[in-house]
């Protein structure tokens, strides 16, 4: 029941003190026709409505009432909040508020949005705390202490016939554990004091991370869509470059141009490909590999054919920031492409058969190392799971540029990881897989497999773009991988002792440490100091 558009035009015109005749002339219609529109006896839309909005200097959404409608929806949402929904609102209160006090309505909507964001950010922090290794270690100490105290106290309370020696032992145990707990509590407090100083807001990357963790890197709706799309493409020929080019052409009228100058003129963008929607043309650089061409065309096909499915997924994900939404849309497009290029069940079967040998899988699907590694992460279909993997990509400067989480393993979102990780070692032996069994300070052990990948440069004299891609899996699953062959997985003696990043790492004796931990142990020295401490000088200085 929104206020009819004619009245809005009329009100706006009158408030600007423009006559009906003058406005009619400005927008190129007769005054009598404008009169009919203003009395809601004729519909108005399209180019005419745009001209009217332009000359009345007003947003078209305000004229059509869409802005109001959106505000009303926002308010409905706010009023549905459990803590206010039982208040005795008038039946039409929201609508009246929007109509009569639009600014207050907006204030309410904004406050509600800020509130939801704050709640989300608190949740994100809770998640973050759970995956903080130092905190995990301290909590473990707390739980051990509490367990010992509780158990000993129960014995003292409930066992009537304890002898003196036994009684003494359990009392001593309670005393010892309580003193330990006191020390742990002081450590914890120190940790929070440090952590609160470096508080950050929920970043886009973290939002997407939450989404991926929640869905365990697996999107059933996209898998179903991809399966259907692959068959559609196969109707135009064998799945691959030719089939995709033909399907894009016949189904969407999209032309694929490979090589030469982009259709928009010399490239003013980085990257090897681009879609020009206004020209319905997909351009790929001449130096792109077949794997890139196949994957990017599949991605374009997916985004064109299954846009609404991506929209639904995004709506369900309820991402907060526009940046997160943009990145998530991109990620889901790539997911679709991966699911098309590597059909789930067949790919899983081949992966299991080859011991997750990425180079073998590449050959089967004409795909790149990174594309295969990426797809392996998504093999989480309930009842048909592959080995659970986490995924990281780094540029040669060590910056992390892509990330798929593995529950239990703390992979940094951005910035740098631990310098000891294979993801960096791989740069020293390009194109060769590097494997590594690592142990974190909480005792958890993982197999890391990393390898460099290279994007083709446009011309021979341009530097190639290098990156390193790493898969991580719990060492308990590692015996299924070809990459663990010859390793004694049960023997932790040769583990590389690592952390997540220096800031979150508790190892005090690590030669690779570059930054102080967030919560240094009490009394520990700072990282970089002079050899001779302040106040210690030889000779008769005073």
């Amino acid at each position: 029941m929104r206020a009819p558009i004619g009245f809005r035009i009329s009100n706006r015109r009158k408030s600007l003190k423009i006559s009906q005749v003058a406005l009619a002339r400005l927008v190129g219609i007769s005054p009598s026709y404008l009169n009919l529109i203003e009395n809601n006896k004729r519909d108005v839309g399209g180019a005419l409505l745009q001209r009217v909005a332009l000359h009345l200097n007003i947003d078209i959404d305000d004229l059509t009432g869409q802005a109001e409608q959106k505000l009303l929806q926002d308010l409905e949402e706010a009023y549905a909040e459990p803590m206010v929904e039982s208040l005795p609102f008038q039946p039409d209160e929201r609508r009246q508020m929007v109509a009569q006090y639009p600014a207050s309505a907006q204030a309410m909507a904004r406050l509600h949005r800020a509130y939801t964001e704050a709640v989300a950010s608190a949740d994100a922090f809770a998640d973050r705390l759970r995956s903080d290794p130092l905190l995990g270690q301290l909590l473990h100490q707390v739980l051990s202490g509490v367990t010992a105290v509780r158990s000993s106290a129960e014995i003292l309370e409930e066992v009537a016939d304890l002898d003196e020696g036994e009684r003494g032992r359990f009392l001593a145990s309670i005393g010892r554990e309580t003193r330990n707990l006191g020390a742990v509590a002081r450590n914890l407090i120190g940790h929070f004091e440090n952590a609160s100083a470096s508080r950050r807001s929920v970043s886009a990357a973290r939002e997407i991370d939450d989404l991926l963790i929640e869905r365990t890197n697996y999107f059933p709706a996209l898998e179903v869509a991809a399966e259907g799309m692959r068959s559609d493409v196969e109707r135009h020929g064998k799945f691959g470059l030719e089939g995709l080019v033909a399907a894009l052409e016949t189904q969407f009228g999209v032309r694929v141009a490979i090589g030469g100058v982009p259709p928009s003129g010399p490239a003013d963008f980085p990257g090897q490909y681009r879609y020009f929607p206004e020209l319905t043309t997909m351009w790929l650089q001449g130096a792109t590999t077949l794997a890139t061409r196949q994957f990017q065309l599949a991605r374009l096909y997916g985004e064109l054919a299954a846009g609404s499915i991506i929209d639904t997924e995004l709506a369900e994900a309820a991402l907060e920031s526009p940046a997160a939404l943009r990145l998530a849309r991109r990620a889901l497009g790539s997911y679709l492409a991966g699911a098309m290029v590597f059909p789930y069940s067949r790919f899983l079967e081949q992966a299991e058969k080859t011991g997750y040998d990425i180079d073998q899988l590449r050959q089967v699907y004409y795909a790149s190392y990174e594309q295969v590694a990426h797809r392996l992460v998504s093999l989480r279909r309930p009842g048909e799971e592959g080995v659970p993997f986490g995924f990281l990509r780094s540029d040669p400067a060590g910056r992390l540029t892509k990330h798929f989480p593995l529950p239990g393993l703390l992979l940094p979102y951005s910035g740098h990881a631990c310098p000891l990780w294979a993801i960096y070692g791989a740069f020293r032996t390009p194109d060769m897989p590097v494997r590594q069994v690592v142990r974190f300070s909480d005792g958890s052990r993982y197999l890391f497999v990393a390898r460099t990948v290279q994007r083709r440069a446009a011309a021979f004299h341009e530097p190639p773009v290098m990156a390193s891609v790493m898969l991580a899996c719990n060492v308990l699953h590692a015996d299924k991988l070809v990459y663990a062959q010859g390793l004694d997985l049960g023997n932790a003696g040769a583990d590389v002792e690592v952390g997540p990043t220096c800031r979150l790492c508790t190892r005090s004796n690590c030669a690779s440490r570059q930054e102080e931990p967030l919560a240094p142990a009490p009394g520990r020295e700072n990282l970089r100091t002079a050899l001779v401490p302040n106040g210690f000088a030889l000779g008769g200085g005073g």
Partner: protein
């Protein structure tokens, strides 16, 4: 000679205070108890003599409880040995991994003594023993 059930319970726990009280309450419940304090010792001990049940802490030095469990499940002699895992509250991931690796039961720290005794009794099927 392997395969004989020489004693009832083997406890693998590295925290001395917890081990002391566990040892006490399980003995008091009428079982014979032995203990080890690291992962490798568990494997050595069960290969020599098989207990009726293993009470296994997840966080052990040398070899983790998971590692021990995985190894036990891969050996003929210990494939069906009942294993009760001690996990810490809030560590859902630990519990999931232990389940995947074939643990028979769980007790979450901090526990009450009665919980441990109950869980052991259930796995042993000893309903007739006095607490």
């Amino acid at each position: 000679m392997g395969g004989t059930l020489a004693f009832d319970i083997l406890i693998a726990e590295d925290e001395p205070s917890i081990l002391e009280s566990l040892d006490f309450i399980l003995r008091r419940a009428g079982w014979s108890v032995e203990s080890v304090t690291d992962g490798e010792a568990v494997l050595e001990r069960v290969r020599r003599e098989l207990p009726r049940i293993l009470v296994l802490d997840v966080m052990l030095p040398k070899r983790s409880g998971f590692d021990v469990l995985k190894q036990l499940r891969s050996e003929e002699l210990t494939r069906v040995l009942p294993v009760l895992i001690l996990t810490a509250k809030g560590q859902q991931q630990d519990r999931r991994i232990a389940e995947e690796l074939g643990a028979d039961g769980f007790v979450t720290k901090p526990y009450s003594n009665a919980e441990v005794v109950g869980a052991v009794r259930q796995l042993l099927g000893d309903n007739d023993r006095a607490a």
